[in-house]
Symmetry: C2
Subunit: 469 residues, 2 copies
């Protein structure tokens, strides 16, 4: 096959090898693959859905040989548009949805080898049979390939780390040489033998190769957990509380989520069966989780430990009020935040991070910027305080002009990057949606390095719609 092959001939070849479920051509069939979870839609030339690693490598070989541009898509839960085709209609979508040829749990090694198309929930279901879990805790249910490409973080990173910290190996298919397979499924915790495809392909948004299988660490499941919703005076008080609980309850701390007063009110207001947790709405609150893989039979009780620590903090004045309740009840409030905020008006979201020691100062500065740019905005921020992650979500009147929002976005990003040594994309990664900011904030030698990698691995620039150079 070569570059001169016609579109029809290519389609015929794909249909012959992948069968009917492997090639989607009708507008209605393609539509779900053309929508980005948060930002607009594109147009796919066709959707290709290989159902095995052999088919995947073969498809990539054909596309590369024919000089075709394509974007790889997992569960399409990403928030920066990296998996959505452009509007031009010239890109194929290569979906990994059917790439489910193997999900193997090794309980002795506490690891799993997973085809890229399986979802987080699939993996956790299989791991649970062995008393194990993959502890990346997210609102969405992404594919494993997408998780690795995006290096997802989530709410329990404070205890377990993110994807990179739990990745043992990746297997991928290259565009150049077309269809070449690299990497491995070696489930090794120690392996220092030079360059590792893991490190290059985790968090680079599929810019360099197509993931086919990933090998991850598993952890023992939690056998007890206790949670508290804690009212504090300010974000600074929340951060002081974090230091205190880490020193007192150490490795048991598994989540420390910040909720601004407005975010908490919005979430509680959104859940008709949930009463207000506090007599007086607090300025800031924290959802604190402690958990352990050790069952209650071992002789310690996490809820009792948590209560004792909370009482000492009430005495010290750092805690204004606290509710200890079942984890699922308190997490329900936390998980309702995003949706409840969106129901209030037009959502403008910022996914930023700073070091924990600069969180409070950054938040104050960000609130001032928001007030100056869009005075009518309601700030309903929440975040993974344990990791310095801030979802600075605001609601603006629907008539707010795009230019004002754009100016605010640039001001927030400039501030977080240049004044606070922070990140303008903490969890969501880089896609067409924030590519211009990547270019603005990434220095020349780093972009030059990315360019060398792009040229080496995809010399004709056919892969995806993210450029890191």
């Amino acid at each position: 096959m070569n570059g001169a092959m016609t579109h029809d001939a290519l389609l015929a070849a794909f249909a012959a090898r992948l069968g009917t479920p492997g090639v989607l051509l009708d507008a209605a069939d393609k539509a779900p693959y053309e929508v980005s979870a948060r930002h607009g839609r594109g147009q796919a030339r066709a959707v290709l859905r290989p159902a095995s690693r052999d088919e995947l490598a073969w498809v990539i070989e054909q596309l590369a040989a024919a000089g075709q541009a394509f974007v790889v898509q997992g569960a399409a839960t990403g928030l920066v548009g990296a998996a959505t085709p452009t509007e031009a209609g010239s890109q194929w979508v290569l979906s990994t949805q059917r790439l489910r040829d193997g999900l193997e749990i090794d309980p002795v090694n506490r690891s799993a080898v997973v085809a890229a198309g399986y979802r987080l929930s699939d993996l956790n279901r299989a791991a649970a049979e062995h008393g194990l879990c993959f502890p990346i805790d997210l609102g969405a249910d992404p594919s494993l390939g997408g998780m690795v490409a995006t290096n997802t973080g989530g709410a329990r990173l404070i205890r377990y780390g993110g994807v990179r910290e739990n990745l043992l190996a990746v297997e991928a298919v290259l565009l150049h040489p077309p269809g070449a397979r690299v990497g491995s499924t070696r489930a090794l915790r120690k392996n220092n033998t030079g360059l590792d495809w893991c490190q290059l392909l985790a968090g680079t948004l599929g810019a360099f190769a197509v993931l086919s299988r990933v090998t991850v660490k598993l952890h023992p499941v939690q056998r007890q957990a206790a949670t508290a919703l804690v009212a504090v005076e300010s974000p600074a008080a929340a951060m002081a509380l974090l230091g205190s609980v880490e020193q007192a309850l150490g490795e048991f701390v598994s989540a420390f989520e910040g909720l601004s007063g407005p975010a908490l009110s919005a979430a509680v207001g959104h859940l008709p069966d949930v009463p207000a947790p506090f007599a007086k709405a607090p300025a800031y609150a924290v959802l604190l989780e402690v958990s352990s893989a050790i069952g209650p039979g071992a002789g310690f009780d996490l809820e009792a430990l948590l209560m004792a620590w909370l009482e000492s903090q009430l005495d010290s004045g750092l805690v204004i009020d606290a509710v200890v309740d079942k984890p699922q009840r308190l997490w329900r409030i936390r998980h309702a935040v995003s949706e409840s905020v969106q129901a209030l008006g037009r959502l403008v979201a910022f996914d930023v991070a700073v070091s924990r020691s600069r969180f409070s100062a950054f938040r104050a500065r960000a609130l001032a910027l928001i007030g100056a740019h869009v005075p009518e905005a309601r700030v309903c921020d929440f975040g993974h305080l344990g990791d310095g992650g801030v979802h600075l979500n605001i609601v603006v009147p629907r008539e707010t002009g795009d230019a004002a929002i754009q100016a605010l976005r640039t001001a927030i990003y400039e501030t977080v990057v240049h004044e606070f040594d922070g990140s303008f994309s903490a969890e969501h990664g880089i896609g067409p949606y924030n590519q211009a900011y990547h270019r603005r904030f990434t220095d020349r030698p780093t972009r030059a390095l990315a360019g060398a990698l792009h040229r080496h691995l995809d010399p004709a620039a056919r892969l995806g719609n993210v450029r890191l150079d």
Copy 2:
């Protein structure tokens, strides 16, 4: 300055900028920098010791501009010769020993920014003042730069991960453009903004750039610990025990070290004041540590938990005998293994790893290979069983021929890589000492990628003595 500058002019420029302690020329002064910790010695043209990041960048700029070859050396504790100059005498040694311009602990963020020349013990001393530690536990006391370049693992990886999992940022100096500074000291746990120098420079043995500062996560110090030395019937029984203790004592498990009978005997024999721990010398033993950042005041006692679990295992027959003792007493035995084995004769060491589920089968296979190649060898293996790491150390008669040892080495590596999907260098990394095996076991696309990186970052091939292509 340009490539035509003479050696004398270069030296004069270095002396003028770095001063007397910054340039070592006398044979006696250079000697300590020319010895590899395990393998032979080389010859340095001169030793350059910049004392600040500015001096470091300037030195690299001069060397690169003058087309000089150099090797970077931290504390020279590596075991594969990656930091030792070649015998040709044409390489400069760039020592980071005096690169100690800044060690900043951020207790709120639980992180540290550390100049590359500080040692692990320096960092832990500074962190301890805040109740924190950098939990990479090693026999040696390497520099932080060396630790990142080698991606060191150690004995507590089962709980904390290795260097990569605890690395937040790196700052480095490039050869091309000469003296360019890249990376950052952003102490962010969440930062998904594309390519990250961390990932490229951790574990690549200084092949691509020179580390100047590293930013790492810190953890709360351990406030209680309990250890047991456990006699078991076989390595397979040890691995079954690991599964059991992880399910029973979860996140408290912080070390699970395997000791073969001969390794244990050698260590105990080496310590005159230590009595034999067991009435009958076991075929295999495990040093198990449980620990917690939570003090005894919280109401649970790790030693009691460990004893209760051990009793249940004695009942089940998996444990033959067990000694619970103070951590420092049992670790002393474990740490005596290497030295005691070396005292028995000529040491031949293998630093390999397999998945935990294949450890027992691999060890049996390796023992058979050793018996076939060098029948007189005494196998005194030990390892980080929790991570699948095996230090397959053997003692051979001093008259054993090098060819027999070389053949055995190749056979062990072939077996671990091709039959057991393992690693031929689990912890020690790649250096001149095992470079040929890297070439043998690394596939073409991975080497081609490394080649693209070498060409981009060091087009004149002047940096170090490790090639990953």
